[in-house]
Subunit: 205 residues, 2 copies
């Protein structure tokens, strides 16, 4: 498992000429960092007399951030696997017409999967942006820069996920799939940009 | 050392109610991820016949990216240490006038240090943005999304570093120091925004 590697080992593996783990896994890791920082801000808010009013909300946030932190680590593995499965499909035999057809179908199937994993990363990171926004507005003031950095990391995870979605689209032939994904990309991008502007102006750092 | 911890352990520690490691270390880690991804793209470009013309340039880039990857891991540790030193200074005795004066001086000294470390993170991340830009323009085309994600992560490291700089400024009394830092912040922000727009439009993903 990538998440059992030390930071140093993981970053050395990421630097190597193996294409996986690559950008998608990096985006997922950014999402996990964002969720962890948000969780820290919730933790620093919980138990403080001045923040009694938001105590319950922060306890709920803490649980959600932990879930996203762990889900992103899972998505980090899945993105690397999905990429390797595309590479395996590309290596299938293509001597006969039948083999060519089977290979093309497998490539299409695996490329779709390699598109859906980073799309999920972007979607989850968008939700983490929302949650980070709550910690910016209501969390412990002394940790406001941490809350803002959580938001910035989540935004990077959205953008990174979407780059990995977009890079796969030219290889996909299913027009309905492409229409659906393109409309999802547009929606996520719009929401992420709006959220970032609104929340960072509230952070007012 | 934080970088010897597994990803899972590090993220759990980041999530906890210990304020360090916090946002500054997270920004440094984003910088290290950015440099690692850039390094991967350089590695994937080196040795490819079609990219012979940029072979030397990619070999140089690879070395620079590795240096930044390791430097950011160092800065990740330093940011956590600098924060803890501020906390230590705050705990100094303040019963007598003499103690108060010594404590205030120590707080000022340590807060300046806790400002200069994330400023260094932002500066280095800005340089990694430039290097990522070269991989976007000249690197292996199949890894273009990885190069773009490297840029996005480096930009997040710039922004994250600067939030951690800005949060400290209201506690610092040295006007010359503040003027200098504020002018550096403005310069780095301007350059990072310009670079991001220019380079991502070149990525054209």
């Amino acid at each position: 498992m990538l998440s059992d590697m030390s930071l140093k080992e993981f970053l050395e593996k990421l630097s190597s000429n193996e294409p996986a783990p690559g950008g998608g896994s990096a985006a997922a890791l950014a999402g996990s960092i964002a969720a962890s920082l948000g969780c820290m801000v919730a933790n620093l808010t919980i138990g403080k007399k001045k923040y009694e009013e938001v105590e319950e909300e922060m306890k709920n946030l803490k649980v959600k951030f932990e879930e996203y932190r762990d889900k992103f680590l899972q998505l980090m593995e899945e993105d690397a696997e999905a990429f390797n499965e595309v590479i395996e499909a590309l290596k299938l035999p293509k001597s006969t017409e039948e083999e060519k057809k089977a290979r093309n179908e497998k490539i299409q199937e695996k490329t779709k999967k390699a598109t859906l994993v980073p799309l999920q990363i972007a979607k989850d990171a968008l939700e983490v942006m929302e949650l980070s926004g709550v910690t910016i507005e209501k969390g412990y003031k002394m940790a406001k820069s941490d809350a803002a950095i959580s938001l910035v990391m989540a935004k990077a995870a959205v953008e990174g996920g979407l780059y990995n979605v977009k890079i796969n689209l030219p290889s996909i032939k299913d027009e309905d799939f492409l229409r659906d994904i393109n409309s999802q990309i547009e929606k996520i991008e719009g929401e992420a940009n709006t959220l970032e502007l609104r929340l960072l102006s509230k952070a007012n750092i």
